[in-house]
């Protein structure tokens, strides 16, 4: 038998640096600023871009720092796309860019010049719901509703991705055709957090739509 794995527990050190002195800026930036602190941008800090959002062309002049999410919500006032974390950790901001779902919070608007964006507003309206939206209502696939647009944008893409043969973490055989199973849907939807816990109902909604489209 092989010998046991040898290791030694690392001892904790009492951190010596005095926080009272070391910590500077209040949002958390420490006083010893990084070397870039004194640097300045070498060109324009804003840009003019054209986005096609829900089929409509929109010209925007925006701060380069503006995310696609904030461009939608603040500049274009399309607030159906939600900000849950702003760090790619929740999926509430999911929309599609050129047909693919992305986290719009982790993408700069300036990088989408000429792109086609679809948001929940372009999917359907209260009086004319898309089948996925209707299935979410019929299956009570939400509670507070805040993650819901992102869930629906993801759900629509998930069905397309499965049909397109894109594998997932739970795909058993990477070389075989991918089946529309509960597990495939759950895994692919896992980038959309619902703290209200409507997952089982969301699965039912997606399954309904998948069956109708089959």
């Amino acid at each position: 038998m092989a010998p046991p794995i040898e290791f030694e527990i690392r001892r904790r050190t009492l951190f010596a640096g005095s926080a009272a002195i070391a910590i500077g800026a209040a949002t958390g930036q420490r006083a010893a600023a990084q070397s870039s602190a004194a640097l300045a941008p070498s060109g324009a800090e804003d840009s003019t871009i054209t986005l096609t959002v829900n089929g409509e062309e929109q010209e925007l002049t925006i701060d380069n720092r503006t995310t696609l999410l904030d461009a939608l919500r603040e500049n274009l006032k399309l607030t159906g796309t939600k900000k849950g974390c702003d760090h790619g950790q929740c999926g509430a901001c999911t929309c599609t860019v050129n047909g693919q779902r992305v986290n719009s919070c982790l993408s700069l608007a300036v990088m989408h010049d000429g792109d086609e964006i679809q948001t929940i507003e372009g999917v359907g309206t209260p009086d004319n719901l898309d089948p996925m939206q209707a299935a979410f209502v019929a299956n009570d696939g939400f509670q507070c509703g805040y993650c819901t647009p992102g869930q629906i944008m993801s759900a629509r893409s998930v069905l397309e991705e499965i049909r397109a043969g894109i594998p997932s973490h739970v795909t058993d055989d990477l070389t075989a055709q991918i089946e529309m199973t509960d597990s495939e849907i759950r895994e692919r939807m896992s980038g959309n957090i619902c703290r209200c816990g409507a997952y089982a109902n969301i699965l039912a909604a997606i399954t309904n739509v998948a069956e109708e489209q089959a």
Binding site: A20, A25, H87, C90, A138, F142, Q143, C144, P149
Partner: protein, 732 residues
């Protein structure tokens, strides 16, 4: 009107709308992105600026200087408000323990100490990073284990004592004495705290995300030292709360102060990485449970002693409360300790008390059943009580816990479960089954509403009640439709505005029972107005159905009464003291099946079932959603959620949604919910109670028990993660 005696037979016993599965009336707005949440209300105020919070980077101490020069000169910055400039502000309410803003004192990590107001988010955020703050830091203690060691034997001030616990425990044939640990948890609702504030002529309006409109209005007035009548709060859609939005929070104060100083509307959303430390959380606990029983399984002695941390002056997590009433036993001891720490403020999170308490108690019950050689379902059933064990003259109003156990066991197939821990396998997976009981109070709060019958025959209901995903819009519409004999689509519900009558709000799972009662009261007042128009002072002689009123042979459409203008009626349902003469509570039994990977220890849930007893179920669709959602949160509590404390520096290190893990789709298996067909006339005119918190209670323990059943390793320290049992699993 007053609810001053148990409800007799009434219209809800023969209902056409209430109790029927009804899709959310706000659903189409939510699925199309049209429901307006707080931060996105561009239409309510012109010229909105953006405020970005500045937060403390130490846990405890004093601010000695805030240098805002660079920030003030940064592009787009309009103004900055600092805590030093406002000075100490009045505490918003006696429900807030930690100050939200103002003054040099730093009470906890990420406490708000300033707000930068700029034209855009990008500008405000960048400028906030330029503010330099100097502190004098005070070293605090953040070690709950150490506090527990100090206090664990102190029983000088028990919550309650009945009989002689010590002697009975000593004499018991079978005993259990164990400690359990639950971590701090974060609400982690999907919508961060957000507010738009606008001042006009000395009056403040906030568009915000808050569960309790009137509390919020009063608290804001108190802390800003203005007349509550000069504050309007509007919160029609709330992206989840779970207790985190019960009270006024810092972002609303920052928006109000920023708007006042800048002279323009200001909106503030708390950045996600600040949410965990700036706002409230469920405190971690250490709990000791001792149970003594006869060989036949009857509990003779039960003691639950617990400690939790709390911000000085706060209440911590009351993990012992359910143990006072859940199970029988003549000799009882309940002790609660608080360890004051300058961590962020511990406060209510969904099912405060019971959620953490049952995580421990229901493992203890499982362990005790095993010691007794009894089925854990049976052990719980024989210790059921129909009276308050601390006060046997006080009955439960309506308690069907045993039926929950039995119905659930049957539907789940409990009889076919694995009975020997660690002995059932499916390939690489060890299969286990677990059960836990659930108990949560069924409170009610006074709740008002106003109804407006429109000339066209539709009805508008206005109340400051909130819908945090619970389904308030829908059950209020159902109640109004039922009471007025209208179809559901003739009712429009308006919520969350402090211009509307004060309601119970959303908290403590009291919302549904209370707000529907308030709606009922307002509708009865409207029926009274219509009776007057007909010329009778006996509204009960009238029949309201099919959008018409019938008296004798005469029938008139409801619309006809408002032909000359809307009819408005308003009332509040006040819950009388009689309600407290009995124990009004809700009950459930949770069953789960898990697989534990024999090699890696990974847990995968395979199925979950809840059987619930919560009085009349007002809307089986939304009630079921409440319960499955609670079960999901229970999965998080059992398997992953841990607001890990850095005990050296006094803050929650896992302060974003990547490091504070909550369940994702892939974690959740098939879920089944059974509602017992019960009515609780003591609770409300609709004989209803809440389910929103019940769904969470006990779930984590059921999973922990199932993991034990699967592996034979008992984990008493949540979350039940593989590092706590891996080395005790059999060789792969």
């Amino acid at each position: 009107m007053e609810f001053n005696q148990p409800a007799g037979d009434n219209m809800f016993d023969d209902s056409k709308v209430v109790g029927k599965p009804t899709h959310r009336i706000d659903g189409p707005l939510k699925v199309s992105g049209q429901a307006p949440y707080a931060y996105e209300r561009h239409d309510v105020a012109e010229g909105q600026l953006v405020g970005y919070p500045v937060v403390s980077t130490i846990a405890q101490g004093r601010i000695t200087n805030m240098d805002t020069d660079a920030a003030l000169n940064a592009p787009g910055v309009i103004d900055i408000v600092t805590a030093l400039e406002t000075g100490e502000m009045p505490m918003p309410s006696d429900m807030n323990a930690a100050p939200l803003f103002g003054g040099a004192e730093v009470a906890h990590y990420h406490q708000a100490i300033g707000v930068v107001v700029a034209e855009t988010l990008e500008q405000a955020r960048a400028a906030a990073a330029l503010i330099k703050v100097d502190y004098e830091e005070t070293k605090g203690s953040y070690d709950l284990e150490a506090a527990w060691q100090e206090m664990r034997e102190d029983r000088s001030d028990p919550v309650s004592r009945v009989g002689d616990f010590e002697s009975a425990f000593e004499a018991a044939e079978v005993t259990l004495d164990q400690e359990y640990r639950t971590p701090s948890q974060s609400h982690a609702m999907m919508e961060p705290h957000a507010t738009i504030a606008q001042w006009q002529d000395g009056k403040l309006t906030i568009w915000t995300s808050n569960q309790m409109i009137e509390w919020n209005r009063q608290a804001l007035a108190t802390t800003l030292e203005i007349d509550p009548d000069d504050v309007r709060v509007d919160s029609p859609y709330i992206g989840g709360g779970f207790g985190s939005k019960l009270f006024l929070r810092a972002e609303a104060v920052l928006a109000a102060l920023g708007a006042r100083k800048a002279g323009r509307p200001v909106k503030v959303m708390l950045p996600r990485p600040m949410v965990m430390n700036n706002t409230t959380h469920r405190a971690s606990t250490i709990q000791r449970i001792r149970i003594g029983a006869q060989a036949d399984g009857k509990i003779t002695a039960i003691a639950h002693e617990a400690i939790s941390h709390t911000f000085p002056g706060g209440a911590g997590e009351n993990a012992v409360d359910q143990t006072r009433r859940f199970y029988a036993g003549d000799n009882r001891l309940i002790v609660k300790h608080l360890a004051e720490m300058h961590l962020p403020e511990a406060n209510a999170m969904r099912a405060p008390g019971e959620a953490a308490g049952l995580m421990a108690l229901e493992i203890a019950m499982d362990e005790m059943a095993e010691k007794l050689g009894m089925d854990p379902v049976e052990f719980r059933a024989i210790n059921d009580t129909q009276v308050d064990p601390e006060d046997p003259d006080k009955p439960f109003s309506d308690r069907h816990f045993v039926e929950c156990l039995n119905r659930g066991a049957e539907a789940f197939g409990w009889g076919d479960r694995n009975t020997t821990p660690g002995q059932r396998r499916d390939g690489n997976w060890l299969i286990g089954h677990g059960i836990a009981g659930a108990y949560r109070g069924g409170p009610a709060m006074d709740s008002g509403a106003r109804v407006r019958l429109q000339p066209g025959g539709t009805l508008i209901v206005e109340t400051d009640m909130t819908d945090i995903g619970t389904g308030s819009y829908t059950i209020i519409a159902q109640t109004a439709a039922e009471t007025m004999g209208l179809p559901l689509d003739a009712v429009e519900v308006r919520l969350g505005d402090s211009d509307y009558p004060v309601s119970a709000g959303s908290g403590g799972q009291w919302g549904a029972a209370s707000a529907t009662a308030g709606t009922y009261a307002a509708c009865l007042a409207l029926r009274g107005e219509i009776a007057k128009k007909i010329g009778t002072n006996d509204p009960e002689s009238l029949t309201f159905e099919n959008a018409s009123v019938r008296t004798g042979e005469k029938q008139m459409t409801l619309a006809s009464f408002a032909a000359d203008g809307e009819i408005v009626a308003e009332d509040t349902m006040e819950f009388g003291d009689f309600r407290g003469e009995e124990v009004v509570s809700t009950f459930a039994a949770h069953f789960v099946e898990v697989g534990v990977h024999v090699g890696t220890g990974e847990i995968r849930l395979r199925r979950m079932l809840a059987a619930c007893d919560a009085g009349r179920i007002l809307n089986p669709i939304t009630a079921r959603s409440q319960v499955i959602g609670g079960m999901v949160m229970g999965v998080g509590a059992a398997m992953m959620e841990d607001l890990a404390i850095d005990k050296g520096r006094g803050f929650f290190a896992t302060h974003d949604l990547a490091s504070y893990e909550v369940p994702v789709h892939m974690d959740i298996p098939e879920q089944e919910v059974i509602f017992l067909d019960t009515l609780d006339p003591q609770s409300s005119p609709l004989k209803a109670k809440g389910v929103g918190e019940l769904g969470l209670c006990g779930v984590a323990a059921a999973i922990a028990n199932a993991v034990y059943n699967a592996t034979g390793v008992r984990v008493r320290d949540y979350p039940v993660t593989l590092d706590k049992y891996l080395d005790q699993l059999p060789a792969a």
